[in-house]
Symmetry: C2
Subunit: 119 residues, 2 copies
DNA sequence: CTCGTTTCTTACTTAAGGTAAGTATAGGTC
DNA sequence: GACCTATACTTACCTTAAGTAAGAAACGAG
């Protein structure tokens, strides 16, 4: 509620001359764009994967964050958790998760066409 | 360098059975997916925009973060800063920035097809 | 039964984000 | 020409999220 005060007066003065940032898109980009989430998704788009396999395939991702991100993605119905036994767990994308493929591929194509310089 | 140690032994044991998360894509998703960046981009894709206009169109985005994100996007050659006079400034996407449109549209389509529940 | 592996969890430190206020420049008002 | 408002930031401070390290529970191998 804080930034609103900075902007409040302006927002009232500015009429709807232009489309405001769509709320659904905003929520999506804040979730999918969260740190590590994009990397986890591209790995899972290649097929179901064990916890530790995802960790191996995403450099510098710690167990703690991987566990946290997986829980978030599961809570949003993007990945499905399949416990083989209490020790072995497999994660797979749901239909909702697989529907992200075009977006991921488009971003990947952009990344390869316009590589980022330093990091 | 920290999480690497957690994973080091495993990474050595696991051969390249499956494609690892592509570095270029990873850098791109970490930049574009950064908080507020996606929202700023969708606003600028609609056309060049003043600093305060972007602020009006992205709810709850503070001046401080808008300034920070704009600097980052400019540093990566995604937006171009045009100072009309010392007080008035306009931001526009570069060709590299406009090339993000398919990715943004794909994510927007996903967001509208599979709305996110709570937030 | 001890050892190693896997999937987390808890406790703690550091980096990023959020809030509030201030700064510099320009233009307008009186 | 002192005073006010608007714009595009900047600085200082505090809170939340990310990163590090260590360990716990559930098996399976030997």
């Amino acid at each position: 509620m804080g930034a609103a005060s900075t902007r409040q007066s302006r927002a009232e003065l500015a009429p709807h001359r232009r489309q405001a940032c769509c709320a659904l898109y905003h929520q999506a980009v804040e979730l999918v764009g969260k740190r590590w989430t994009g990397a986890i998704l591209i790995v899972l788009l290649d097929g179901p994967c064990r916890f530790s396999e995802v960790g191996e395939l995403v450099p510098d991702l710690s167990d703690r964050l991987l566990s946290e991100r997986m829980k978030e993605l599961e809570a949003h119905g993007i990945v499905e958790r399949r416990a083989i036994d209490p020790v072995r767990v497999e994660y797979a994308l749901t239909a909702k998760g697989r529907a992200l493929e075009p977006a991921v591929n488009a971003l990947k194509a952009w990344a390869e066409a316009f590589p980022i310089s330093h990091g």
